[in-house]
């Protein structure tokens, strides 16, 4: 976590545990913290503070966007549509409501022709399309999605539908006011930009009517009941504000580290494929994403060896048991199943250093060779 986020959290936790909807002095102080946090978040996304809905996670924000707008319980009633590489927090609700799923190309970029075809088909049904959800940047591949182009396709085919973007992964690297300018709703999660776990937000770009999925005390303007996590929200706001300020310098610095890491590994080892990258062009990937597939090895074994050297990576996604599951993102990109089994995701961030890159470059090639040999 960012130091400023820890400080903001600790300060509020020490101040009081008062309910921000209460009437007394401590409650009103908590409400002030909430108001200021809401203003900070709104400013980062170029919207009005009243359009920020704090949630308990990025998943909840995604669920609220889909279920709040689409399907029988949504304000717009039609079907949802999303990309095949969405996080399960979006894919799950879309599939539950019987919505459409749009493919991606080999680079992991949304197929706009397929999008147009899916939207046209669904608009010809009695349901129509309520919301299209396309993530800002993919959590596995790091590939940035063409949201402006998506909005243009929607304007032609389903002008009344809303564009939602899961910006959970992207907001650290991309200014949402630029790269998600046409999104009507955005989901974020604090722990992805240096804040705490267990707090997120759904940010609306205008006063969009949204049915709640949690009903009770009517907090967050009837859009999300439940006492707000004031300390977590204060921490989220502090982290987001600093992430926004640091972003340009961090993108340049981390992008250079990532390039050195990936280029170094690919120079050292044969049979390495950089996911979504064709002819070395990484311009469509966020700066912190290093995603590779190694021929002839399995991710679980590689992660095990790397951990012994103090390198903590991931492969695809983890199921409830903690086991690694095959990646639906790589499958959607058409990556061969055997190659996808050897995937490795190393995420770089604000805290990454040159020394760490040197360390990974010194241990990872030997680990891959050891596994390919089948023997230390």
């Amino acid at each position: 976590m960012r130091a400023c986020a820890i400080e903001a959290m600790e300060q509020q936790m020490r101040a009081s545990a008062a309910n921000p909807t209460g009437a007394h002095k401590l409650a009103r102080d908590a409400r002030k913290v909430l108001d200021r946090s809401r203003q900070i978040v709104a400013a980062e996304f170029g919207t009005d503070p009243g359009n920020v809905v704090f949630t308990g996670s990025g998943t909840e924000a995604d669920n609220l966007a889909i279920f709040g707008l689409a399907g029988p319980g949504g304000t717009h009633g039609g079907l949802p549509v999303c990309s095949a590489i969405e996080h399960h927090a979006v894919l799950g609700p879309v599939e539950l409501l019987g919505g459409g799923v749009v493919g991606v190309d080999a680079r992991g970029v949304l197929d706009l022709d397929h999008l147009a075809a899916v939207l046209t088909d669904l608009m010809a049904t009695e349901h129509g399309v309520a919301v299209v959800s396309v993530m800002l940047a993919n959590n596995e591949s790091g590939v940035i999605q063409p949201l402006d182009a998506v909005a243009n396709v929607m304007a032609e085919i389903c002008p009344d539908a809303l564009l939602h973007t899961d910006a959970v992964q992207g907001v650290s690297w991309l200014d949402p006011k630029v790269h998600a300018a046409k999104a009507d709703l955005l989901s974020i999660s604090a722990h992805k930009f240096g804040g705490p776990q267990g707090v997120g937000a759904l940010v609306l770009r205008s006063d969009i009517a949204l049915n709640p999925i949690l009903v009770g005390g009517g907090q967050e303007r009837e859009r999300r009941s439940g006492t707000q996590n004031v300390a977590g929200i204060a921490s989220l706001a502090a982290a987001l504000e600093q992430a926004g300020a640091d972003r340009p310098a961090m993108v340049a610095r981390v992008g250079a580290l990532r390039d050195r890491l990936v280029d170094g590994l690919m120079a050292e080892l044969d049979g390495v494929h950089e996911s979504g990258v064709v002819d070395g062009d990484r311009s469509h990937k966020v700066a912190g994403s290093a995603h590779l597939c190694f021929e002839g090895i399995e991710s679980e074994a590689l992660l095990f060896l790397l951990e012994r050297h103090g390198v903590f990576g991931s492969a695809a996604s983890s199921c409830a048991s903690g086991a690694q599951e095959p990646s639906h993102v790589l499958a959607a990109m058409g990556v061969d199943r055997a190659l996808a089994a050897g995937s490795l995701r190393l995420s770089l961030g604000a805290a990454s250093t040159d020394t760490e890159i040197d360390h990974v470059l010194s241990v990872l090639p030997d680990a891959v060779r050891q596994l390919r040999r089948g023997n230390p």
């Binding site: 048991s321 903690g322 599951e325 095959p326």
Partner: protein, 361 residues
Amino acid sequence: MTQVMMAMSGGVDSSVAAAMLVEQGHEVVGVTLKLWGGDSDSGCCSVSDVDDARWVADQLGIEHHVFNMGADFDTHVVDPYVENHAAGLTPNPCVECNRHVKFGKLHDRAKALGFDAVATGHHARLETLADGTFRLGRGADTAKDQSYVLYMLGQEQLGRLMLPLGGMTKDEVRAQAHNLTMRTADKPDSQDVCFITSVGGRQKFIGERLPLTPGIVVDTDGNQVGEVEAVELVTIGQRRGLGLAGGSDPRFVTDVNPTEARVTIGKPKDLLVESTPLGQLVWADQPVGSGADAGTAVMVQVSAHGTPAAATFHVDDQGLGHVRWAEPHRRVAPGQSVVLYDAETADLVQGGGIVVRDAEK
């Protein structure tokens, strides 16, 4: 100090085995395999079993990892299980899981990762003979002995295997788990096939994956005496569920012919055979019974907890093994594993194979 990868299912046996290895001063890493993604009663693969294994590992102060070997389990265990039933065989999926997953994939991975040994909580012993080769022996608790399902282990696997529970009875294992206040101390033993639920059973599982064939039941003279819903689910030696009229002497399935959808039944004596042919032979070390015309004396066990019977064994020119029973023996269903133990003590596994269908009579 040995670096040991401890296979932890979340059950009491592997919990205590892990504790013993830690106590002995080994460097232990716990691993739970995620094998089956579908329904199960609890099996080896459900989230609650993984939780149990992880909590025990935490209690013991060792690291715990989950390895997803679901694809290998599907390819080497579940798919062949269904295909074998389609072919009228009676497979043993636990044997194939040990062969391909636990002592195939996991063994190879542990070696590649630099571990000296893989340990499991099986009730079986490791013996080193005077010539330095290894043998698998029965567990001290004969009622819980699991040497039968481990008969495929060769020198490569045995040389890297640790079986901490080999000298203990199940009661001693549970007592030790209680002493260590382990949450798994009173957990029931796993039963039957982990991917078959007790609610749906074998019929539901196979029926969802195969078109089941109704068949006729005939007696030894070829007269139709009953009907079955699914020939694929009938096993040699089976007595119930054959649609037979009551009152007569007990009759058993003596033959299953899936191509003609015909099940033959007979009296107990019709089940008896002089010899049993085996394919897919595997050996603890050197092959047994090759070249010796009279065959090699062995003790033979045909099910996980069956009683060993005396026989001789020889391998013919085609590489097919033949168990020649000292006394006529009940026919063993094709697809089942037959395990050869030493003739003197019936304690040490020599090898084994899988019953083939041809010319058993």
